[in-house]
Amino acid sequence: MHDLTTSSYHVDTEGYYGPFGGAFIPEMLYGNVEQLRLTYRAIMDEPEFQQDFHRLLRDYVGRPTPLYFAPRLSECYNTRIYLKREDLNHTGAHKINNAIGQILLAMRMGKTRIIAETGAGQHGVATATVCALVGLPCVVYMGELDIARQAPNVARMRMLGAEVRPVTSGSRTLKDATNEAIRDWINHPEDTHYIIGSAVGPHPYPDMVTRFQSVISEEIRTQLLDQTGRSNPDAVMACVGGGSNAAGAFYHFLDQPDVRLIAVEAAGLGIHSGHSAATSVLGTEGIIHGSRTLLMQTDDGQIVEPYSLSAGLDYPGIGPLHAHLIRSGRAEALSVTDQEALEGALELTRLEGIIPALESAHALAAIGRAAFQPDDVVVLCLSGRGDKDMATYIEHLDQSSETSTP
């Protein structure tokens, strides 16, 4: 991995991406976050760590994931579309890349207890999985509402031996699960590591998660070169909630100005419907979960609960890297409604025989709006598989067949 830290799109020595980032944390968290800040790069750069990390990604996760040229989807949009198949990872999404990296880091820091937050449950499952793998106790905080909505993933976490703690504070979803995990960390300053699942939180989390996920764009470059003779595509697309799969898919292209970076947010019922999660449009600068970034809030600075049908995208903030990429014009932001995402999921399923996660379906639904040329090479990060969304998809399918039958 070459050192790109001199670039303005990478985190600076104080943990900022332009005006975004930093570590706005109470003193009770200072020791833990400082320990992480001082050691994460050194540990990650150890050859032995890299060896363990890549061995597990290969033998356990199943990497490299394929880069698949999607012929019928390409024909449909009259451009050349390659899907980065993160859905084929063990546990069904890109989340496992970061969970593997952080569990190895936690063990080297001598931590003996793991906590995590989860919304849709994918990161919770990934964390419970790596804890089972190394034999560490795992507590996953999950909003009471999400527990009810995501029963299969709750069952998986329990089978893996994790304790799923229902969060009843605030709006009882991902934002509050994150608050509760942070409070747990405050209460356990010595033995616990908090595995954050997205490119959010206080420095060094956004950078650390991005680096663990950067294996996605590292592989894309090699695979694209093999398949097309060039390592740079014309565009990379990914969905963004907090933004970990997008951060990983963008990472090695940040300093390649000829590569368009396209971040797709969830518009929910419509950007201005009052039920949306399109943070780059609706958000203003502020602080959420220890990071200065764009977030959805009232004039009085109270954080607003976002909405998206997809539980993985309904986060009221956006990672500081993405806030910087979008505000500086390096990345384009598009947004996709629930309905468009459902149609995008069905389209991919029928054209390519791949059922995507509802989150990834947001990126798919934005292809038609990105004004690609016929000979453009577009890489779309298919961040997860749709097993967890089957109930939602079937309901949509039944509804659309009802409306189309006379």
Binding site: F24, E27, M28, Y30, I287, Q297, D300, G301, Q302
Partner: protein, 274 residues
């Protein structure tokens, strides 16, 4: 000289600082609570700005914040309430809140408006020292507001010195690394932490907070530091549903303990003023 500094110049021991969340139990209880607390002889009052995502707070303060927000509390309303109550009491008032709300209001404007309303100091738990040095120190000095930083049992000595140097008015000793509203009994480790801090010859007076819910906790804090901060236990008392005019004096009496309060100075003064 600030009200906080002049308090500690007059009185070094048995300082009682009571925390409550503005807008709880009702939107307009702020003034009544401040008057009752000052008449009951409390030395300092910490007013919590209710926030949707109070990271450092436990379930009691979270619930009171949610209630306060549901009651319609906002930062402009709170500042107006403080402006109204300020003539009735000389007790120093400290606002405790999270940085996001200060940013949205505009830091410079917020500090000026708070000072004008009669606020004496701030506690902003998620304000990093590096940001304080970069911009906030100067703005706070210009506005004439004190700021108390937090230290915990895990804070290394060198950083304690930095936080002490950044603080004015007092230094906030978090009794254990925990969110607010935790366990009340202090163990040996905590006592040795309090003693360690006492021996450091810091420039600011020290108040111990988090987990102090009764007279025993208060007395221990007063023994090892200049006084105590009580929050969650007071909010639970307010939640009991009794009239504020009864529950507040009784609570303060309960914390101060069997000895008659030594700090009758304030109660006399505020009684005669009102």
């Amino acid at each position: 000289m600030s009200r906080i500094t002049s308090l500690f110049n007059r009185k070094r021991q048995d300082i009682l600082n009571i925390y409550f969340t503005a807008g709880h139990p009702t939107l307009d209880s702020t003034g009544t609570i401040i008057r009752e607390l000052s008449q009951a002889g409390v030395d300092l009052i910490e007013v919590g700005i209710p926030y949707s995502d109070p990271l450092a707070d436990g379930p009691t303060i979270q619930a009171s914040s949610q209630q306060a927000l549901a009651n319609g509390m906002t930062l402009p309303i709170l500042l107006e309430q403080i402006r109204e109550v300020r003539p009735d009491t000389d007790v120093p008032l400290v606002l405790m809140g999270y940085l996001n709300q200060v940013m949205q209001y505009g830091a410079e404007r917020f500090f000026r408006d708070a000072r004008t309303a009669g606020v004496d100091g701030l506690i902003l738990p998620d304000l990093p020292l590096v940001e304080f040095d970069r911009t906030y120190r100067e703005l706070l000095q210009k506005a004439g507001l004190d700021i108390a930083f937090l230290v915990t049992p895990q804070t290394p000595p060198e950083r304690i010195r930095q936080l002490d140097a950044a603080s004015s008015g007092f230094l906030y000793l978090v009794s254990s690394s925990a969110i607010t509203g935790g366990n009340s009994a202090f163990g040996d480790e905590q006592i040795s932490y309090f003693t360690r801090l006492a021996d450091m010859d810091l420039r600011n007076p020290r108040l111990i907070g988090f987990g102090i819910a009764d007279h025993a906790g208060y007395a221990t804090a007063c023994h090892y530091a200049n006084g105590a901060i009580v929050g969650s236990a007071f909010i639970r008392a307010l939640d009991g549903g009794q009239p504020l005019g009864q529950v507040i004096p009784a609570f303060v009496q309960h914390i101060r303990g069997p000895q008659p309060a030594t700090s009758s100075e304030y109660s006399k003064r505020s009684t005669s003023a009102s």
